[in-house]
Amino acid sequence: TAGTLVRGLSVLAHLERLETRMHRSRKKLEEPQTVQAEESALVTEIQKLRRLRDKLRAEVKRRQAGVKASTANVEPDQTWEITEQEVLERKWENLKAVLQAYRFTGLSGKLTSRGVCVCISTAFEGNLLDSYFMDLIVQKPLRIHRHSVPVFIPLEELSAKYLETNIQHFLFTLCEYLNAYSGRKYQADRLQSDFAAFLAGPLQRNSLCNLLSFTYKVEPRGQSFPLCARLLYKDLTRTLPTDVTVTYQGMDALSTSWEEQRASQENLFRTKPLHHVFTSFARKGEMLDMSLVS
């Protein structure tokens, strides 16, 4: 297949590179040198080539073993049985793979003796984050036995609304809540870890990560005025805030330009993930630094 060919070629490419290096070092050898230096260079080169040869020997052996294995020993009288077996085994491999693949939907599960254990995976911007599980008992009524969903997620509310009538809807709605929570948490964590220099005080956050309050500066070292930001994420299924308030610390009345700045900051927080906002502050600062230096 294409994939194995590519990999095979990459091994060859790697070996080729080793060879080229060896050719180059050989060229060096041909320059006028003392007899001793020539000797040691030759020894080094021989060692290199020995290693390369051993690697190639191992590679060839590996490939030949692979070929042997795939043309398995087939006894003539068992041919028919093995063919059917082969078909079933391939099907089994395929089904096993498909079963594994369900975790990529963000929602997966395993049958248990009493029902099902569901696993919900979360991610934000491609970063795979925490997973949560839920043990469901399939009885009348359907109920949740154990789970690792945090207490501040409205699980009871959701299950009362949807669990009995539409389990798919229940599960995917729960996925929404958990993914949004994970995403908000990720943004707050990144702010604290990567942009601590921009914060003029601790980041105040609740466990649901839907109310954040902090004082910050757009330049970490600069003389810019500190701003106070308050982000409220009313919609728990979203990772962007619904209400944003930005004020210049201790100032009520602002001149037009300052008001413009304040409003644009508010808009930034409303439309971009939290850590991206600070990344753009950092970039602006870098550009400013560059212009000062040059």
């Binding site: 080169e45 190639l56 490939r63 079933l88 089994w92 491999e93 395929n94 793979a97 939907t105 979203r238």
Partner: protein, 292 residues
């Protein structure tokens, strides 16, 4: 020195021959699922050897029922999946106990009438403290493409490499499509004369005309939109089609304000009740079929 030069050329010759041998022998498949393993590898990977086809069949049956269960649970049917792993750990990384692996995944299936094919890459970096997994690339192909709302959504999901959001929103989108279809069908069956589905129940428009007032028609446009964050929301609008003279007679501008009134009513009564009251309003002289 001569002996060494001899060894050098011998090594070079051997290396050339080994390279040729490498090129001639195909590399065995590694880390690739989908039936490329040898029987020996299958036996080794599973502690139970297959006693007979019967044994294998019962296990297959169990697997199939598990998959059927998962597809019922999620509403998503995965038909094929394969994965390839590439070790990107350099020698420097190994020294620092860091492992770097790139996984290439390919998966295809369907969610009701929508089929999808995904290819994505996950980069896994393991150091002493933690394991980080990041989706570094996502490619999505979907059919049918007549749901225009979906193409924009797909590009956004690809851009954000948000695999889970893709499945979640897809599932909600399909659920809304099914609900819309059922609702339109229901009203068509209940008020066959008044309700008019020009493109069938799967379309986004439902026309309502009054038999007693020809030329007077309203069209309910029910779109299903997916916003920036992957939230699936229904958006209903009312379009009125009335003869000019009727408009002239409409001093209170009832018809002009009808779309707004419709939207307000939606907020109060919900979709089904709003549609029902609208149809009833237009067909006061209709003899509607009684509800079963």
């Amino acid at each position: 020195m001569d002996a060494r030069r001899v060894e050098l050329s011998a090594l070079q010759a051997e290396i050339a021959a080994l390279r040729r041998a490498c090129e001639e022998t195909p590399a065995p498949a590694e880390n690739a699922t989908r039936g490329q393993k040898s029987f020996q590898e299958i036996y080794q990977s599973d502690s139970e050897g297959w006693e007979s086809s019967k044994d294998l069949r019962s296990h297959l049956g169990h697997l199939e029922s598990e998959i059927l269960f998962l597809s019922t649970l999620t509403g998503i049917k995965i038909r094929n999946y394969s994965k390839k792993t590439k070790d990107l750990t350099s020698t420097e990384m190994t020294e620092k106990s860091i492992k770097k692996v790139l996984q290439r995944h390919r998966l295809s299936g369907n969610c009701h009438m929508i089929t999808f094919q995904l290819e994505f890459q996950i980069l896994e970096i393991q150091n002493k403290k933690s394991l980080s997994s990041v989706i570094t690339d996502l490619n999505i192909i979907m059919e049918p493409t007549e749901y225009s709302e979906l193409s924009e959504f797909v590009s956004r999901a690809e851009e954000r490499r948000d695999l889970f959001m893709f499945f979640r929103s897809l599932r909600f989108f399909v659920e809304w499509c099914e609900y819309r279809k059922r609702t339109f069908k229901h009203f068509k069956e209940k008020y066959p004369e008044a309700v008019h589905l020009a493109e069938g129940a799967a379309s986004s428009c439902m026309g309502v005309r009054s038999a007693s007032q020809p030329g007077f028609e309203v069209v309910i446009v029910w779109r299903i939109q997916i916003d920036d964050e992957g939230k699936v929301l229904p958006k209903l609008d009312l379009l009125t089609q009335v003869p000019q003279r009727v408009l002239e007679l409409d001093k209170n501008r009832v018809i002009e304000t009808a779309p707004l009134g419709f939207r307000n009513l939606l907020g109060v009564l919900g979709i089904e009740a709003t549609l029902e009251s609208l149809i009833k309003l237009l067909c006061t002289e209709e003899h509607a079929r009684s509800r079963h």
